[in-house]
Amino acid sequence: MIETKEAGILTAIETKDAGKPTAIETKTAGKQTMIETKNVNFYYADFRALKEVTIRVEARAVTALIGPSGCGKSTFLRLFNRMNDLIDGTRLTGECLIDGEDIYHKSVDVDALRKRVGMVFQKPNPFPKSIFENVAYGLRVNGARDRSFIAARVEESLRAAALWVEVRDKLRASAFALSGGQQQRLCIARALAVSPSVLLMDEPASALDPISTAKIEELIDQLKRDYTIVIVTHNMQQAARVSDSTAFFMLGELVEFGSTKKIFADPDHDQTRRYVAGRFG
């Protein structure tokens, strides 16, 4: 009950002053649940990709989803912005709540949900447009027309994605002219521009070199002050470095979920221990 109430306040504040943390939010940060699933099962046609997953994801923290390939962690991540809907023949049972709202309820506007839950993909996927237009895209599809507002929001987002200094002189250049790491930060800026409250990241650094990866990780560390971040990663060290909590998946089941410290230092399950130690995966 308390959580739901706080979530309500949070939403109210956010609609008033998008993206900026306030005193109330900062105080509650770390205690509040942003995403919650209850006994979620997910099917691709006959294949059961997720089994009875129940989890609570903290607001304004980084939660890492780890596990071997095909364990369902990406599927799980894509539940939260309903990207799985794009695949024919998928089915979900159980409950999936964001901010206390069942996002799979009939009355949910999926497009509006996706504005609240941003996503960064595995490979940088900028549009074949200019750097500016890439970031402005989300604003434009949401009906923003005021030029100065768009320009201000683009700058703000690029600054938040630690890309502004590098691109401010070439905003009209094609996004493809950027390096892979810059493209990925552009994609993060693009996601931030529509002021989501949750940011989903699907192996955001797997296609990048170590220096770009370090920059992305640093960025994630900054962003968690304002956003709830869920990140899928194959890289154990990355999970250990950037996340506050870690969920370990295997064969569609959530094996263990807890603070990153505990998962990496003293997990309850033997499977988790072996996986984080790099014995299999």
Binding site: N81, L113, R114, K115, N125, F127, P128, Y137, R140, V194
Partner: protein
């Protein structure tokens, strides 16, 4: 063992090279033949080959061009002052006139020429069109030379009357404009429909619908064009005649409709390939930002596929420009400058198909048809090159 294998390898490679070479050679020969025959038109005299024109020796008219000659013999010009001579009625005369009316005649030049000379001498206003063998001496008659057919006669001439006598008219402008009109109208009809269908197929249709629909649309491309023509003639033409209350249903519009149906498979298939070629990652990125499906189509898919769609359009035009049989059957084939979509027109391919059979090889008419072929070739080649450039531009960028 080894040398036999090497021999076999060389033989096979040689055969492949040869087949490629032969194909290329044939293409070049055809093009060379086309242009050689076509441009021969400008070495053809403006008067029918083997015939000549002459006027009375004291006629002051400076010179005549082929168009004036035609109008004189058609009775549209009746006074010499209209063509720059001294006032006086024009008396057109053909050698046939000698032989009509009076019994069996001797056609030996020795007996014909004196009679022609006598006729010319007593008729100051005469203009005579005669076989070269019957041309009288220059004391009595002045021979008129109309020169050769010029490029401007051909490209800007408004009359296409290849069988006109004494001077056939090869003005290709009505044919060129007719082709353009029919093709453009066809593409304007086919484009919205084709792109709409492509978007439906690639973005909206379910997998099963697509699996059923795509082969059906591609089947359209396999129907012989004469069948389309037949359909147009029997179904569309009467329909258009009734709808617009026209004297005849065969019109530019009928041709455009048939061509639009024929160009649809090309446009749909290519445009669908182009839209499906837009990376899935970009669609997902757009949807993940809260864009609706429709916004994603308009702002990401269509711009991403624009060069492919442009290529589809251009190739669709190419198909329409070169199409012969269906158009020949439904456009009415009147070689006049098109004034509206509801009038009969004649296109270049239809002209070639309809007239080549009756044009004597090597004659001016025959060469004029080849020159039309050259125009068609140049146009379709330009179209294909454009399409090639457009698709080359759309090849995947670095992602």
């Amino acid at each position: 063992m080894k040398w036999t294998r090497r021999l076999a390898k060389h033989t096979i490679e040689g055969l492949f090279t040869l087949s490629g070479g032969v194909t290329s050679l044939v293409v070049f020969l055809i093009i060379a033949f086309l242009f050689r025959e076509g441009f021969g038109l400008f070495r053809s005299p403006a008067v029918e080959r083997g015939y000549g024109l002459c006027v009375h020796a004291e006629n002051a008219v400076p010179t005549l061009d082929a168009g004036q000659v035609k109008r004189i013999f058609d009775g549209e010009i009746t006074d010499w002052k209209e063509v720059g001579g001294r006032p006086g009625a024009i008396v057109p005369f053909r050698v046939d006139d000698l032989f009509t009316g009076g019994g069996a005649m001797d056609d030996d030049p020795a007996s014909v020429i004196p009679r022609v000379e006598a006729l010319i001498a007593r008729t100051p206003g005469i203009i005579a069109f005669l076989h070269a063998d019957y041309l009288p001496g220059t004391k009595i008659a002045r021979h008129l030379s109309l020169g050769n057919i010029t490029p401007s006669d051909f490209f800007t001439g408004r009359e296409w009357q290849p069988a006109a006598s004494p001077s056939p008219r090869f003005g290709a402008l009505p044919l060129i404009l007719g082709t353009l009109l029919v093709s453009l109208a066809a593409i304007l009809l086919a484009l919205p429909l084709g792109i709409g269908a492509a978007i439906y197929l690639s973005e909206l249709a379910g997998a099963r619908m697509r699996a059923w629909m795509k082969p059906t649309i591609e089947l359209l491309a396999g129907i012989p064009s004469v069948v389309y023509g037949f359909f147009g003639l029997v179904v569309l033409a009467p329909l258009i005649q009734k709808t617009f209350d026209l004297p005849v249903g065969e019109s530019a519009l009928t041709g455009s409709l048939v061509l639009a149906i024929m160009a649809l498979p090309t446009i749909i298939t290519l445009a669908e390939d182009a839209t499906r070629g837009v990376p899935r990652a970009q669609r997902e990125a757009s949807l993940a930002l809260g864009a609706t499906r429709w916004q994603t189509i308009c702002r990401v898919v269509l711009p991403g596929a624009s060069s492919g769609i442009a290529a589809a359009t251009v190739l669709g035009i190419g198909r329409a420009v070169g199409e012969t049989m269906a158009v020949l059957m439904v456009t009415g084939n009147a070689a006049v400058l098109p004034r509206s979509l509801l009038e009969p027109v004649r296109t270049i391919p239809a002209t070639i198909a309809a007239e080549l059979g009756e044009a004597p090889a090597g004659g001016a008419h025959y060469r004029a048809l080849f020159l039309l072929g050259c125009i068609l070739f140049a146009v379709t080649m330009a179209i294909n090159l454009t399409a090639e450039l457009m698709t080359a531009r759309s090849r995947p960028k670095n992602i």
